[in-house]
């Protein structure tokens, strides 16, 4: 999709982390997030750089690169950047677009308020984090 979506609310409604929100809530969320476009090979998150943000992928594909190793692939509905924002530390990996990427972005300092205002989104994010942790633990086992 070359063109930005006509209805941001419709787009949000299709993402798992926003599945529990009513239409007015989706509209409010759509107004608080900004859409960004990243060309293929463009860096989205930069290892070691302060002041980053929380990203939710609308379309496209990105990879997480720690050092020189690809550690994960991210697609529509996935989110990233929350760990460095929540911990107040610079990201420990790069995230790079491998296909043109559209994301919704929330500046880091607004994440806490966003999660507190939208507890159902917060719960969905928590479930996703638990799944990541379980997979990582299994991987180590």
């Amino acid at each position: 999709m070359r063109s930005a979506p006509d209805d941001a609310t419709e787009t949000l409604a299709g993402l798992a982390i926003f599945a529990d929100l009513s239409r007015p809530e989706l509209e409010r969320v759509a107004h608080s997030l900004e859409e960004r476009y990243f060309a293929k090979d463009e860096r989205v998150l930069r290892e070691g750089l302060s002041g980053s943000a929380f990203y939710i992928i609308l379309e496209g594909e990105a990879v997480v690169i720690a050092g020189t190793t690809r550690v994960n692939t991210l697609r529509r509905g996935d989110f990233f950047g929350e760990i460095s924002v929540l911990l107040g530390e610079a990201p420990v990996a790069d995230v790079v677009a491998v296909h043109p990427l559209r994301c919704l972005v929330l500046p880091g300092q607004l994440l806490q308020e966003f999660l507190q205002t939208n507890p159902r989104v917060c719960y969905r994010i928590l479930v996703a984090e638990a799944r990541k942790l379980a997979n990582a633990t299994r991987g180590r086992g």
Binding site: A4, P24, E25, E35, A39, L49, G108
Partner: protein
């Protein structure tokens, strides 16, 4: 394309670099959106006639958000020579005159009344179809503004006038006015209608942001906060956080159905006028059909750090469209590329980039002595207008050149600097954290590895201290020294 501040600055800068080009504009005179707006005839961007630096100096530009940037000192700070002294915000006609005077005095030649209608590729050339025939070029730059009315998809909104169609203020006397949108254009109208309207409602789904809280140009500017104060003091203005479900036109009035995010029931307003202060998009014609990707609610072209289409190489943008090349947005602070004070610098850098990349014009790169380096960097951090107007977006770049030594590589987009790496280099910019502290940051690139070095803040924003000198020496040692 375009004869607003963006087009004029880029044309001027290309001329001084010796790049042949043509400027066309659908308008009949220079000035772009300032030929019509702001509706209530006074700008939001200031020019201080009296400032800590002399008018016409580079340092003075920090205090003058409205003048374009010539090399010749006699054409600098033009805005100050045109304002009547009644306000540090120029009036709309003064701003229009400022831009037209710049074009006239610096010799920017524009073919007015020439509307770009379509675009196509012919071998290695771009062909621009216009009402005056076809233009062929190696590099098109579209500085066509963000002034085409945009409306969200709300049932019934097609019957509602846009901000652009607002009537003279007195025609709203004694009427109930519902304004959709809580950004600057909505609050501007509300401010201007306070003395006329019987009732004013401002509504949109998310709460109004105020610039003094966001610490950026995102948010309602202080000048337009009066309706908000009226609201919080229960003076009668209603500022509502609710989605607009639908608008019904009845005989002589409207019913606006709204719904708050946390309530199940609709709240219906019966009003005499509805105005969609819902923002603007850019008239980029057929560019999306040629593959130009767009981004965001108002579908501006997605751009690289050098303001080139992210998807169609060789297509560049100018002026306020640069707001869709957001840079790093560190700590959430946006660039000022949506305003003249920001994009005038982008325009100068873009001209230099186009000249070097497409026309083999090598920009000047002066040598800096080792003894001057630290002082040079800290003076830039303290006084460089580019860094103050475009925090974490533009950076002064110093590189180590094997033959010439330490070289000033000019002001560049910070994101470009961080993503290219290469030679040993240092970039200095200004940043602002969530606590509102402004401080210089050095980015060093050593053997391909980039590091970030935040320097201490300073209450007076003067970074020429021994503490800062020590921090700079520690950061650049082994990179440039």
């Amino acid at each position: 394309m375009g004869s607003g501040p963006g087009g004029l600055q880029i044309s001027y800068s290309l001329s001084r670099l010796g790049v042949r080009h043509a400027v066309i504009s659908a308008d009949e005179s220079a000035g772009g959106m300032f030929r019509r707006w702001p509706f209530f005839q006074r700008l939001l961007s200031w020019t201080k006639p009296y400032a800590p630096f002399e008018r016409g100096t580079r340092e003075y530009e920090r205090y003058d958000w409205n003048s374009l940037l010539p090399i010749e000192r006699e054409h600098a700070a033009l805005m100050t020579t045109i304002m009547d002294g009644s306000s540090y915000y120029p009036s709309r006609p003064e701003m229009e005159r400022n831009l037209a005077t710049f074009a006239e005095r610096t010799g920017v030649a524009v073919r007015f009344g020439c509307r770009w209608t379509a675009t196509r590729r012919d071998g290695d050339r771009w062909v621009l179809e216009t009402t005056d025939g076809e233009f062929r070029c190696q590099v098109p730059v579209f500085a066509v503004g963000v002034s085409q009315p945009w409306r969200p998809q709300i049932p019934g909104i097609e019957d509602v006038p846009h901000y652009a169609d607002t009537r003279p203020a007195e025609t709203y006397a004694g009427r109930r006015v519902f304004i959709i949108g809580k950004e600057n254009s909505g609050f501007e109208l509300a401010t201007g209608l306070l003395q006329w309207a019987k009732q004013i409602v401002l509504a949109s789904p998310s709460p109004a942001k105020l610039s003094i809280n966001t610490r950026s140009l995102v948010g309602v500017r202080a000048r337009y906060v009066q309706p908000y104060e009226d609201h919080v003091l229960a003076g009668g203005v209603i500022v509502l956080d609710a989605s607009i479900e639908r608008i019904e036109r009845r005989e002589g009035h409207f019913h606006v159905h709204t719904r708050k995010a946390d309530a199940a029931s609709d709240l219906v307003f019966e009003v005499d006028d509805v105005i969609a202060a819902t923002g603007f998009t850019s008239p980029i014609q057929d560019l999306p059909n040629l593959g130009v990707a767009t981004v965001g609610r108002n579908k501006l072209p997605a751009q690289t750090p050098f303001w080139e289409s992210s998807t169609v190489p060789g297509v560049y943008f100018g002026g306020t469209i640069h707001q869709a090349s957001p840079g790093l947005r560190k700590h959430g602070i946006p660039s000022n590329s949506g305003g003249v004070n920001g994009h005038r610098y982008n325009g100068r850098i873009l001209a230099r980039h186009i000249a070097a990349k497409h026309f083999e014009v090598s920009p000047e790169r002066p040598v800096i002595s080792r003894a001057e380096l630290v002082s040079f960097l800290l003076t830039e951090a303290t006084n460089a207008p580019e860094l103050w107007h475009q925090k974490a977006y533009l950076a002064r770049v110093i590189v180590r050149d094997d033959k010439r030594g330490i070289v000033d590589d000019g002001v560049q987009p910070l994101q470009h600097v961080l993503d290219t790496g290469g030679a040993n280099s240092v970039a200095i910019t200004l940043e602002e954290n969530a606590a509102g502290e402004i401080y210089p940051v050095l980015y060093t690139c050593r053997d391909g590895a980039t590091s970030e070095h935040p320097l201490p803040t300073n209450a007076l924003h003067d970074f020429r201290t021994s503490e800062h000198e020590k921090a700079v020496i520690a950061a650049v040692e082994g990179v440039l020294l």
